[in-house]
């Protein structure tokens, strides 16, 4: 399997969020704004890639029966590294993301990739798979965060700079409240279904 295909596999074909519906909790919880989604995504890319590399390196050493606890310890170690780094360099973002930073440890995307891919493939492919899946997750986080922030505040803040001087329209507050997350995600998935179905029927005709 070539590396480029492994990379795009995570972003498009097996996008962990839009195709496999993994890791929903952090996805919905932290996406009240575009930048929150971005930083959460960066944290996930780091943990996923590092844990994939280590799991792949140790795949012949770890006994199959105790593999899950081993994977969890590896993942938890990298999550702790992320927590400390974020706390030191991005304290504001660490505060906003709150318990969802330590909760990366139970993010099913990461355990799923360790189990389904990294434990069966060589190190380089595992690393690329981690980056690809992480990117797919980040894109989903940013799309959802962007949509919710745009409709919920009628503005977009990038790097602390608002994109527009004044709110563009009367903001729909519900979008940045919990119900907005569920509804936006549902509608996004439905739109994606429409696109996939249209593509398929177009290809068939």
């Amino acid at each position: 399997m070539n590396l480029w295909r492994i990379l795009t596999n995570g972003v498009v074909k097996e996008n962990p969020v839009f195709r496999l519906l993994l890791g929903l909790c952090p996805l919905l919880a932290v996406t009240t704004a575009l930048m929150n989604g971005f930083w959460m995504g960066v944290a996930v890319i780091f943990v996923l890639t590092s844990s994939n590399i280590i799991v792949s390196m140790l795949r012949k050493v770890i006994a199959p029966r105790i593999r899950i606890p081993c994977f969890i310890v590896i993942i938890a170690t990298f999550v702790t590294i992320v927590q400390m780094t974020m706390n030191a360099y991005l304290p504001d973002m660490y505060e906003i993301l709150g318990i969802f930073v330590p909760l990366i440890v139970v993010n099913c995307v990461i355990l799923a990739r360790a189990e389904a891919f990294a434990s069966k493939n060589p190190v380089v492919s595992a690393a690329v798979d981690g980056i690809g899946m992480g990117l797919g997750f980040t894109i989903a986080l940013m799309v959802l965060g962007g949509v919710r922030e745009f409709f919920g505040t009628a503005n977009l803040v990038i790097n602390g700079q608002p994109l527009f001087d004044a709110p563009l329209f009367e903001p729909a507050l519900i979008m940045i409240m919990p119900p907005g997350a569920f509804i936006t995600m549902g509608v996004l998935l439905a739109l994606l279904n429409v696109m996939v179905n249209r593509g398929r029927s177009g290809a068939g005709a």
């Binding site: 919880a29 606890p69 400390m84 139970v106 119900p179 509804i183 549902g186």
Partner: protein, 194 residues
């Protein structure tokens, strides 16, 4: 009084699913029918109460006094996964009937972020061991309420005519959103009662 506040708050106001987005994977995954949802709820209720209590105990006796709080994440996840394993082994011996009905759900609970989330929230709120267990129990009750209600709605949705693109997960998520709006109504309750 604080216990009542935690219980009511956990079930209605800070509901794990509708307000805190915890435990969504099993919420969507095992809510196809009410029976499965009830089984999962029982398992979660059991594990979450114990996990919140045990992690709070470890935090107050070991991690905090020795300045090891940076090991929180690693310790908690290990405690939770071994607890799940323990509960499974114990149930298999002690009550095969219960084990048969909860068995398949138990391993799933390790990656249920609600369990770890409830434990972390309890510690961050500074609850003691007792109150942490109550908080875990309240969170699990709220989660159970949400998933059982949702499973009931989903059984009906199976029979409804849903547009092609919305079938399955999308309509389930939109439904959850509408339920979350309904639960927002409880927010005023706290101000009224306390």
């Amino acid at each position: 009084m604080e216990i009542i506040a935690i219980l009511l708050g956990g079930v209605l106001i800070n509901n794990l699913v509708f307000a805190q987005f915890l435990g969504l994977c099993p919420f969507v995954g095992v809510s196809k029918n009410v029976e499965m949802a009830t089984g999962m709820s029982a398992a979660v209720l059991f594990v979450m109460t114990m996990a919140a209590g045990v992690t709070a105990l470890l935090h107050s006796l070991v991690l905090d006094p020795y300045g090891l709080t940076y090991l929180e994440t690693v310790t908690f996840i290990l405690v939770i996964s071994s607890l799940v394993q323990f509960v499974e082994t114990f149930l298999r011996k002690a009550s095969p009937v219960l084990h048969r009905s909860l068995g398949i759900y138990l391993p799933l609970i390790t990656t249920n972020c609600a369990v770890m989330g409830a434990a972390l929230i309890s510690v961050r709120q500074g609850y003691g061991v007792g109150l942490s267990a109550v908080n875990g129990f309240a969170g699990a009750l709220g989660w159970s309420l949400a998933i059982i209600l949702f499973a009931g709605i989903r059984e009906r949705l199976e029979l409804a005519s849903v547009p092609e693109a919305l079938k399955g997960i999308p309509v389930a998520l939109v439904t959850t959103g509408l339920m979350a709006i309904a639960f927002l109504g409880f927010q005023g309750l706290f101000r009224f009662l306390f």
